[in-house]
Amino acid sequence: MTSPSHLDRLEAEAIGIIRETLATAERPVLLYSIGKDSSVLLHLARKAVYPGRLPFPLLHVDTLWEFQEMGRFRDDLAQKLGLDLIVHVNREGVAAGVNPIDSGSRIHTDVMKTVALKQALDAGRYDAAFGGARRDEEKSRAKERVFSVRTRDHRWDPKSQRPEPWQLFNTLKKPGESFRVFPLSNWTELDVWAYIEREQIPVVPLYFAAERPVLWREGTWIMRDDERMPLLPGEVVQHRMVRFRTLGCYPLTGAVESTATTVPEIIAEMRASRSSERQGRLIDFDSAGSMELKKQEGYF
């Protein structure tokens, strides 16, 4: 018997984490963001429960400002796989007119993502929410546990995290408390792509380079996905070969110039790349500890 490869070990570990959650939680839910990590997570969840169907719903928090292609991909996939998909929008935020253009990225992300996520989790009384976050994404995530306890208000306290020796998880919780569970904790961006290639997992085409209408703003290429985003003085829409390393609200997500149109080309490009993945996310740049603050408030 040959020893399992790096990806085999990561896959088995993630399946083990998903099954551990199914065995210990009453109302699990999978937070589905449509991105590549979510796609891998969904694939692993289907493996974990095979030959059964997913015994929990998928939850997508829709900010109404995500790329149009993401919505199409989500709906196609849900129909094709027969998924129980819940799409939640913070209607109070919409009514208050919150949007990334006028409200700024911080308020928009807080109201339409963080608050919206809490609303949806409370409404579903979910006690365990799978997320596709990885520890290699950002410094404060490097210390996140696999089973991360959240208070009744969904807050994360980095000082009172439970030790997880030997991957033995303390899954006890008090009424109202819940877990965020991260099966991809030990995966890197490269692992995710290598696994997508190996397993032929479908991902949103925005990850592949194509000619797209973009404009240069705040040091990155922003795609003008619809007419809602006004041009600032001096800005010109150009057509360039770009792709996205992460996906989110289009006015807040930077593209990179690239010619990679297949997964192996993406992997080859990443090997040569000298930039981190979250560089394209404008919301992380507020301050060095900004992700940590967002996490404490309940953001993913």
């Binding site: 065995a23 493996k47 059964g52 030990n186 479908p202 981190s276």
Partner: protein, 538 residues
Amino acid sequence: MGALAAETAAPLPAAANDAAPASRSLLRFITCGSVDDGKSTLLGRLLYEAGAIPDDVIATLEADSARIGRADRGLDYSLLLDGLQAEREQGITIDVAYRYFSTARRAFIVADTPGHEQYTRNMATGASTADLAIILIDAGKGVLPQTRRHALIAAFVGVRHLVVAINKIDLVDCDAGRIRAIETAFRSAITGLAFDSVTVIPLSARDGDNLAALSPRTPWYDGPTLLGWLEAVGVDGAAGGRGFIMPVQWVNRPDAAFRGFAGTIAAGSLAVGDSVDILPSRQTARVTRIVTFDGDLQRAGAGTAVTLVLDREIDVSRGDVIVAAGTAQRAVRVRTSLDAKVLVTGQAALVPGATYLLRLGTASANATVERVVHGIDIATYEERDRASVETNELAVVRLRFDRPLAVASYAVSQGLGAFILIDKVTHETAAMGTVLGEAASAHRPRLQLVGQSFEQAMVRTYGGDWRRNLVPATTWRLGSALLLGVVVGVLTGHPGYAAAAAAADALVRPLLRHLHRGLWSRWSARREAPLAENGGGI
């Protein structure tokens, strides 16, 4: 998923690169040392040397180095690792931070853990899944009590390979004599701890000596570079070889037609058609299918997540353990009490009489601390008498469960030999522990068993108040033996025969009587004892 795949990309060509990430092996390691030892600097530098630090992160690092004010030493590599804001400001590593990097040969998962004694539990957590531990020693300071503590914790959680990084060699002018003296001191300091390998590497984390390339400053050093050793050290063979073990994690019953037992194989391998025992109930069955999403397997090995289908309807639930049938898996035993080494991770002390929720493998049970066998001084390794075990302290304790559990010693199986204890009120993880091998755990209890059986023998022989009867009983025994000796002496005229007869009468008769009673009680016990006795094999 063909349609969607076609939408995203044309059929994918095979990977062009030989060192495809899919085929690389994985090494998990931990760095242990104190802030002053330059641990985070070492790791940051290692990531940098391996090309794992992207340009925009280096730009942030340059800004951070200037802002936090350690810029006089050049780039502060430690800032790449100290993740939480509070930690960055205080300049210490409080928690475990995980880092990922890879070279052409290996993928690495690094746990960067704090060095202070108050964070021993964090180090133990980080080390628990590590194949290798790097222990830092400041060349200017040599072996410190913390060095011994780090080695002990690494041994406690079963880390197999130790690297001793003697850092800041420039402080001792890269002097071979000084560094070899530190190595000798270290090797004698860890006497009694078992590792597969101990490798000593002199280096400078700040300057990069012997990290990725051998340093011209240490021409006398003929060992590997740190990165070279991390790529080369053997980590396979930990799983497999032994008999099959799989804790049942989750019963998969999507509909009335299918009932499978899902879990990850902890040891050994399994083929369709194999007979298995279910523990602790000791039922037997045959495996009819090994189900995975990618199709049924004929054989599956350690580390694989599978779903097993058995040939008969038996009661199997989460926490049960499926093992190779019969004598193939003797290492797993059904027990309701055992001795274990524990490290207290919670805020509260572990006290005799307290009951916790135990998680071992996938099983849960109530576990009561019967007694603290002895504490272990984490700096001197000496055994100490302890009434309770405080936070960050190590001890051997006797645990009793409220139901029988399938366990193995930690040396045999990490999956069935490691556990956590959870406080039932606060839900805090109170302790982490490893099951001791029966030989090791019997060491002290055996002395006590001798004591008990002596007491029991005296009670059986002389009654419950044997202490009060001891003097008349002894004088009678000695008196009658003396009389026999005198009679033998008179009859044979040989003082040697007289003495032998007296001695034999004094010793052999009680011994024979004791043995006779012992045999009778053992025979009757065998008839009446319940099947699932403590420590009874399978």
